[in-house]
Amino acid sequence: MTVHIRGNAAVAVRSTADALDHLRTLIQAVPVPTAPVTFPSREAALGLALMDLSFRLDHLPRLSEHLTLMDRGHMSRAISVDVDLEVISGRLRNTLLVPGDAAPAGGSPSLWVPLSRYSRRDLTPVVITDSNGDVVPRLSDRDANRVTAAAFVKLLFMLINAHEDVAAPASPIHQLRHTHQRSRWLIEAAITELITVGSPVGQQLHSPLDHAVLAAPRSGSRSVRDLALTGLDALFPPAGGDHLVVPFARLLQLATRQYILVAQLGLDRPRRFLTWDAPLLPAQHRPAPLQSLAKNVLPVNREFVVEYETEIPRSVKAYHLTLEVRQEISVRRFLMSSDVDDEFVEVLAQDLESVARRADRLGGHHKLLELEMQSIASRLAELGRRRLIDLAGYEAYLARLPIPVGPGSAPPRRKLTADEVIAALSAGDCSLEVLAAFCAHYAADGMQHLAKSGLAGQALLNIANGLRAAQVGRDVTTDNDPREHGAHAHWRRPSVELSPQSTEPVRAFAYMALADEAPALIEDIARMVAGLALMVLAIGTLLSGGTAWLYSSQVSEGFVPEQPDAVVAVLLLVPGLLLARLALPSTRSVLGQLHKFQRSLAAASVLVTTALAIALGTVRSDREMTRLFQLALAVLIVILFCCLSEFYARRAHRSSSVPRSMRVPRWLRDARRATRRTVEPDDFFDARGEV
């Protein structure tokens, strides 16, 4: 995990460069226009304003998502947002004004307001309703695409205009702007085409060029295309330069992969509550055949683990995630973790590494090194404080579970001195207790003059690795819904934003373990199997006239009844009636998955009694009949043991203190000394769209 984060810079640059590659392909493929693509300046302004607001979403103070698990493999989401139009600045508001919205007498003008971005793959129509249930008009995707294209054309024109070469004759930028306008029109046409058609993730852009061998390399439009490509390279130099290529390419990438959800909202009610149903989410099944087979055939008291991943705009102040399942299912654990401080931790880790590598040079300027060390220490202390609050919340959650997981499983607390803390950190131990102790010592002014301590130098590299490995950038929010078949997590933006400039959305993971809690099916089945075993025991005892057949190898005379019909009827009818009383769910549902093993236990017990009934009707030997009764009873007892081990496994699951998921932050697992390896979830839902 850590390795992936570090290696991502290159991946990011490459993946965003794809968007520009697609643009280059289209510059080669689209016909050279003889006139510019004209967009009214109003549309360009609207497109830019929508793009800007759709990234920041400052005007959405609260976001709620309500998840319903339809069946195994599908999840429906209802999204509701609070909108505050007052937050949108006056000038931006003028741009967003819906044109031609002739306000009828007394009515007020309305704005186009972006509410969300969603993947272009989702084609379900989205209907937005407000708190009165009235449907809110939407900007069609086609119109949204047109204004986005207009925005890009405008942005490109602005970048060309402000480029330093624009006044240098014979430079490609000058030619694009003043003398060879057809090349600029070509870029504009290519951008328009790209945004209208879109470019799905991970696919090559197909163009007519794939099917043709072009004969004359220097014919007609070639020079126009070449200049367009050279101009694009001059505007966005691939390496070095003014680092404009990544932001622009990323912007283009998002515009070609996502739609903006835009609603028309009247200014008369600046604060609104809107709801819509997001497209149905299909599960991304993880192939783990051996694991699921083991879960289905062993008495391990199966839990159905669902993980959900979504994105929250960073400006959202409060986020609610609620989950509802069928009443028969209990939500055993519900936990949310977000990467809200990940960026901060990554910057801190990079600072640590840079200081470590430059310790010699910085050493010459003692005060400079001290400033860096103090800056690092203050941030480490803040991280420790935050995660400690999260841990306290998690402990409280465990304590208020229906079957509480007490502090018994938690390790005893150690108290560390300042020297011990520095020694532990130097060794790369960034566990929560060390960070918390560091926080306490820092607050008590015990961490002054760090430049002279053993922390400066190589130890910083260990801390950087420790921070990344412990995933201290992730917070934890727990369930606070008292119902058993529902869950609710309330995430709040921290009061002090650690990466204040960032508008990167916060990724949130939710872990849900669904289980069949008491009164559960397994209890009914255990009773049924016990009843059947007793029935076999009783019939056997009645037939042999004593209990000696159970333990003695002696075979009593007359074990085979003269008239077996009554016994056969009892052996067939009783299990049938008991089985019919059990409510066995469909195999497609989540409950069906949970009950897979238990259902086979019930079927096996009925099979045993049915086989015994058949034997009673056919076997005439006392000896064989005795052995068959003994065998049937033994099998039923084995089945009963399986039921009991299900109870034991359920108890073990209930008392598990930390979910075994790789999405649960490492520091939480370390804090509770959870050493068992993580397992893949049964279902994984990704609501982030194509990013």
């Binding site: 405008k154 402000a162 404009l244």
Partner: protein
């Protein structure tokens, strides 16, 4: 699992573009007024678009305004978003207009904003450089020294590709003797400033901490070489802007020696006359270093400087000493 690429900068690009290209905005209109400070007519006015300021037209007022005054001269800058795009090139500036005050001139023009000047998402590194510990009375030699310092600092930033967010000198000038009462009505005395300083800020991507450390190390080395005092903004988590961490104190003797060695020819007289020069253009890294280097190449120092960026257009206002022969 891979992290998606960061969209913070893209979002900022969209934001700048959206601000720059509103319904009625295609370029930046600016007005620049040069004039004497503390003249009989009071401070320079803020430029207003219409003749009737009573009219309730929000667009008549500039969106950004900057006023700077030093060495008896002041310059005031106002910008508006403008719908006009009918000019070629990056900047268009008109002939000076008189605004009805003595020795004051107003210049109006248009400039294209540079949406690629992305720095909101960067980490601001602020630097306070102490260039003396007595009253501010710069000589020609000191002006040259100051120009050298500005050129070095902005050059350093330019090498790293870090934009200069603002640069002002002199800051914290020694207060006027009659200004011992604070404007807020409290009886607390104005604290004496420690001496003329230069304050500037650059933006560095937080993910490029190596560049930041290199910049700080180079700064400390420069401070050691020339003897000027160096303070950096306190980067500790719970500190606010304006709290400084002293890296080096001002070394008066070394500063004097360095000045004498570098500019032995320059006069040690205080200039009697000064003039304002303004450079305006779309914001871009390295502009300030180039402007000051061009001046220094001609043997001209800098008495005072105010460099700021408004609506992605940079205004470099320099107060230059007028040579004795010219005056």
């Amino acid at each position: 699992m891979t992290l998606p690429p960061s969209s913070t900068k893209s979002s900022e690009l969209a934001r700048i573009a959206a601000e720059a290209a509103g319904t009625s905005a295609a370029s930046v209109q600016f007005t620049l007024i040069h004039g004497p400070a503390n003249g009989n007519d009071g401070p320079l006015p803020m430029a207003i678009d219409t003749s009737d300021p009573e009219k309730e037209d929000p667009d008549a007022w500039p969106t950004d305004f900057c006023h700077f005054s030093a060495a008896g001269l002041s310059v005031s800058t106002s910008t508006w978003p403008s719908a006009s795009s009918a000019f070629s090139g990056r900047v268009q500036i008109g002939l000076p207009d008189s605004i009805g005050r003595r020795d004051s001139h107003s210049y109006s023009g248009h400039a294209v904003p540079n949406p690629g000047f992305i720095h909101q998402s960067t980490r601001k590194v602020e630097v306070l450089i102490t260039l003396g510990n007595t009253h501010w009375s710069p000589t020609y030699r000191e002006a040259l020294m100051q120009a050298l310092v500005i050129e070095k600092l902005t050059g350093l930033a330019g090498e790293l590709g870090a934009p200069v967010l603002h640069l002002h000198t002199p800051v914290a000038p020694v207060p006027q003797p009659h200004g011992s009462e604070r404007g807020d009505g409290s009886n607390e005395r104005l604290r004496d400033a420690i001496g003329p300083c230069l304050r500037f800020a650059i933006g560095i991507d937080p993910k490029m901490s190596e560049a930041r450390l290199d910049f700080e190390t180079e700064l400390a080395a420069l401070a050691e070489e020339y003897g000027f005092g160096l303070k950096l903004d306190d980067q500790r988590f719970n500190r606010v802007r304006g709290e400084w961490f002293t890296i080096r104190g001002f070394d008066r003797e070394r500063y004097r020696q360095a000045r004498g060695k570098l500019f032995p020819e320059a006069s040690v007289l205080t200039p009697r006359r000064a003039m304002i020069a303004s450079v305006i253009g779309p914001s871009r890294t390295g502009t300030t270093a180039a402007a000051v280097a061009a001046l220094r190449a001609r043997g001209i120092g800098v008495l005072a400087a105010s460099i700021s960026s408004m609506r992605k257009t940079t205004f470099i206002n320099l107060v230059l000493p007028v040579a004795v022969a010219a005056s």
